[in-house]
């Protein structure tokens, strides 16, 4: 289960598109999802995933803080408690990341990561359980982004101009390496989107050159086909099974 839930936020990592800055991601947005995993053919709700945005200012700059939290429901806490935070500090308009942080606590397994984006280089700092902290600097492509900001960048894409089957290739930085990602626009479908009701959505398939995701067109995301492009449903297929994130509430959009 640890592996499954570790991979839940990672699903976000495989979402990338070039962006047009027509729509701007606002501060104060909060999206809540119910995370379920397919256990022996039955979808079982395990955790709540909350994605939120807020403004953060330093003496010299303003940033948009993108946060993705994963917490197991209280009924699971006694058996396997998970408290994960994935966050990114990005430029408010371009969404280019400056700092990416990941802090996970999954049934006692802890890991902290920090990626500092400096021009075309990333300095990563990783601390696993009781192991000593390790640090390294590696080169990245100018367009490479982090695991959280990618999901928000995806929402800036104008899908209305795309045709079903059209693909795009991108790169994300995750687990101290660059991961190539291919996305395919698959058309429109109607999806239940929590308090937003049933919405027409853009369906996008995610493919990545990694063992973490399995199957062709089995890792999917549905974004509402409106100006906000809220992720309404995310389905994933990994080596140990399948699962999904269902939007339960959206506020501040």
């Amino acid at each position: 289960m640890k592996r499954i839930l570790l991979l839940l936020p990672m699903i976000f990592a495989f979402l990338s598109f070039t962006s047009s800055t027509r729509m701007q991601v606002r501060a104060g947005e909060k999206l809540v999802y119910a995370g379920s995993y397919n256990m022996s053919g039955l979808m079982t709700q395990l955790a709540q995933v909350t994605m939120s945005t807020e403004n953060v200012s330093t003496a010299k700059n303003n940033y948009l803080h993108l946060s993705c939290e994963l917490s197991t429901y209280s009924k699971w806490d006694k058996f396997f408690k998970i408290r994960d935070i994935y966050e990114s500090y990005v430029h408010p308009t371009t969404l280019k990341p400056s700092l990416y942080k990941r802090s996970i606590d999954e049934g006692g397994y802890t890991k902290k990561e920090k990626y500092v984006f400096k021009n075309n280089k990333v300095t990563s700092t990783v601390k696993k359980r009781t192991y000593p902290e390790s640090s390294r600097t590696f080169n990245i492509k100018p367009t490479s982004i982090d695991a959280v900001s990618i999901l928000y960048q995806l929402r800036l894409v104008d899908f209305s101009k795309m045709q079903a089957g059209q693909t795009k290739s991108y790169t994300i930085v995750f687990d101290e390496k660059e991961v190539p990602v291919t996305l395919k626009y698959m058309g429109k479908e109607e999806i239940k989107a929590g308090n937003l009701g049933t919405k027409e959505c853009y369906k996008i398939s995610i493919g990545a050159k990694t063992d973490a995701l399995r199957g062709k067109d089995k890792n999917l995301i549905w974004l509402t086909a409106d100006a906000k492009k809220i992720p309404a449903l995310i389905k994933f297929s990994i080596p140990v099974g399948t699962g999904q994130l269902t939007l339960t509430s959206a506020s501040g959009i």
Binding site: M39, Q45, V56, Y73, S74, K75, E87, Y89, K118, N119
Partner: protein
């Protein structure tokens, strides 16, 4: 044959009770379903006063299914307010602000 069925019924009834007590959600219906099916088959293979024990096992499985169905319908999934986690988020944000300022200084 009946003895084998009875042993299997007991095993799955115990699993049904365990899964019902644990937060397994609808997953508990798997052992419950098997336990009910086995109880019915055992009941059919039993004669006279042999039917009493399979009936008890069947009743237990049915009660388990009602209990799990009730939990699924009436108990809402909630995340507990975790003060340690909330504090960690505040500290992480403060650290991030310092790290961003360091980055800004490096880039100058």
């Amino acid at each position: 044959m009946r003895k084998l069925l009875l042993v299997l019924t007991i095993v799955f009834t115990v699993l049904a009770i365990l899964f019902s007590a644990l937060p397994m959600d609808t997953l508990a219906f798997l052992p419950i379903g098997v336990a009910i099916a086995l109880s019915l088959v055992t009941l059919l293979k039993s004669e006279g006063n042999q039917k009493k024990f399979p009936k008890i096992l069947l009743t237990i499985s049915v009660i388990c299914s009602v209990f799990v169905l009730g939990k699924t319908i009436f108990i809402k999934d909630e995340v507990e307010v975790d003060k340690t986690f909330e504090q960690q988020k505040i500290e992480t944000k403060q650290e991030a602000k310092k790290e961003l300022e360091e980055l800004e200084n490096d880039l100058e």
